[in-house]
Symmetry: C2
Subunit: 319 residues, 2 copies
């Protein structure tokens, strides 16, 4: 089991500095069709199409600052890899991404637009991750987990710091949950406020709710899900579990049918392409799982990503 | 030929007041993938999915203020009708929309969500419009043209007034052109600045460029186009032609292939659903028709609407 430090103030400060320098402030829009006090933060406008570039920049900046010249290695078939690739290009740090063979051609081609080293290895994510850890150890590079990393968590948390500036009457934030990097970062950034943090996971992959209930990471069965960006077991000892427990994050789950119908709804009624992982927050609101703030404060739903394979998107629209 | 007054300061003032009270300020985002100094204003986040609700609110507010109790009538198979329906509900004014029989079921069903009187009449827009004019005359209701109306033009112009507040270094605005209500409103709102206004029309329906070249409205052949929201001949004497000429609006045209590929690009690379009419500005940038501002000021492209029939959207994605 890797020992991973919890984020401290210095992590948050560096993350904020690098994110403000390299990323836009993504817009917040009201969404009367979802409810009178519902707003959306549109992370799909990030340059990589997902919020993960926040954590990528924070982690790469940390590597650069602690050990100039050190390279970064990670395993990803999607948004984490894109975020690190973008960050490496922006900060002048060499990045290697281990891509499992089952990664979609669309995602590999999106990665190739950056000056990044790609290695195809293993069938699924866990083999790719094992190889990334070996490679990091063999070469002295810095391994960056997609969620079990204090800089990544601090980077994702910059989203909530933006929210505090953008939404004066913030009451609740609704956050997609997979490994928990985003929900942990958001909860830490909002610690000390009375803003409620609600995590939403796919019922096909309820790793975080199982871990929070058990008090520790427990193995779960992962079923296929449209929210592939949220799917998978958690790393043993993942600090995101401790943070979610300590910050009293509530976790809800949504069904595949909810995710599918929300992706179509987002396209037809909101004009937005959402990947499955990016749609779970809206799915929870549409399913009536989130009761509005009684005081009239805003319920802010994070739309976290838009990177869905074109064929899958068409199939979801057509169903 | 109807005689229509040009917008005066009082039209602009009332339009701004009612738009600020009832509509959100739509976001502006940078778009490095389209060019270093390209930004987008996302009117697809308007409550009706298109900018036309600005003009609808301005026209309904004018009717309410000049003759309390007077009803409003219009012909529309799409965004203009939705804008008026929204405005009627917001301002407590009865609205009747004459819908041509060829209007898509999706658009009629979108209209039905509002408390609006719908009359199906005529095959296409011109028969519906003739009926709307007769009805207005017979009942003493106010007819609201989708573009040849000083309040509608002033309402659409509120978009440019927002831009001046949102984009300090505004150099060029790229505007879809059909009847020219938006481009006329934008050009008037930017008169006295040195911001360049570029209109983009569909080559299948080049009514405005023909009229600007001839100095008066001339009949054109209208071919089928994905930008159905921009298609059709202009009303004789349309004031938008005078305004476009006087304000020296440049008009470009884009092809069906450009519009189609841009709708797919917007979905897959920007995460946005755009109707054909809403995509022509980005299509012009992608086709290399718009040279960047040499001084490094922003080129702002208006994404005007997202209301595309689901089956057509799927077909465009699949092609």
């Amino acid at each position: 089991m890797r020992t991973v430090a919890h984020p401290e103030q210095s992590h948050h400060d560096r993350a904020w500095e690098v994110v403000r320098r390299h990323l836009p402030v993504t817009p917040v829009v009201t969404s009367p069709q979802l409810g009178r006090h519902v707003s959306l933060k549109i992370e799909t406008f990030q340059p990589t199409g997902s919020f993960k570039v926040r954590g990528g920049l924070a982690a790469v900046a940390a590597t650069r600052d602690s050990t100039p010249g050190r390279e970064v290695v990670a395993a990803s078939a999607g948004n984490h890899g894109l975020g690190l690739a973008y960050a490496g290009a922006a900060l002048g740090v060499k990045v290697t991404v281990i891509v499992p063979r089952l990664a979609s051609a669309a995602k590999v081609s999106a990665l190739r637009q950056f000056d990044v080293r790609l290695i195809l290895h293993g069938e699924g994510y866990s083999e790719a991750e094992a190889h990334a850890l070996e490679l990091a150890s063999a070469t002295g590079s810095g391994f960056v987990s997609p969620y079990n990393d204090p800089d990544v968590i601090a980077g994702q948390g910059t989203l909530a710091r933006e929210l505090l500036e953008q939404v004066p009457s913030l009451g609740t934030v609704v956050v997609p949950v997979g490994g928990g990097g985003l929900v942990a970062g958001v909860a830490l950034a909002l610690a000390g406020t009375d803003v409620r943090v609600i995590g939403v996971e796919s019922e096909a992959s309820p790793a975080m709710s199982a871990a929070v209930a058990a008090g520790t990471v427990v193995p779960i069965a992962v079923e296929p899900t449209l929210a592939d960006g949220l799917a998978g077991n958690l790393e043993a000892g993942a600090i995101t579990v401790d943070i979610a427990r300590h910050e009293k994050v509530e976790i809800l789950t949504v069904s595949e049918a909810d995710i599918r119908s929300t992706m179509a709804y987002a396209a037809h009624k909101m004009g937005l392409v959402l990947e499955g992982a990016g749609a779970v927050g809206v799915a929870a609101v549409r399913a009536g799982l989130i009761t509005p703030d009684q005081s009239g404060r805003q319920t802010l739903v994070l739309l976290t990503g838009r990177n869905v394979a074109p064929a899958l998107f068409e199939e979801v629209l057509h169903a």
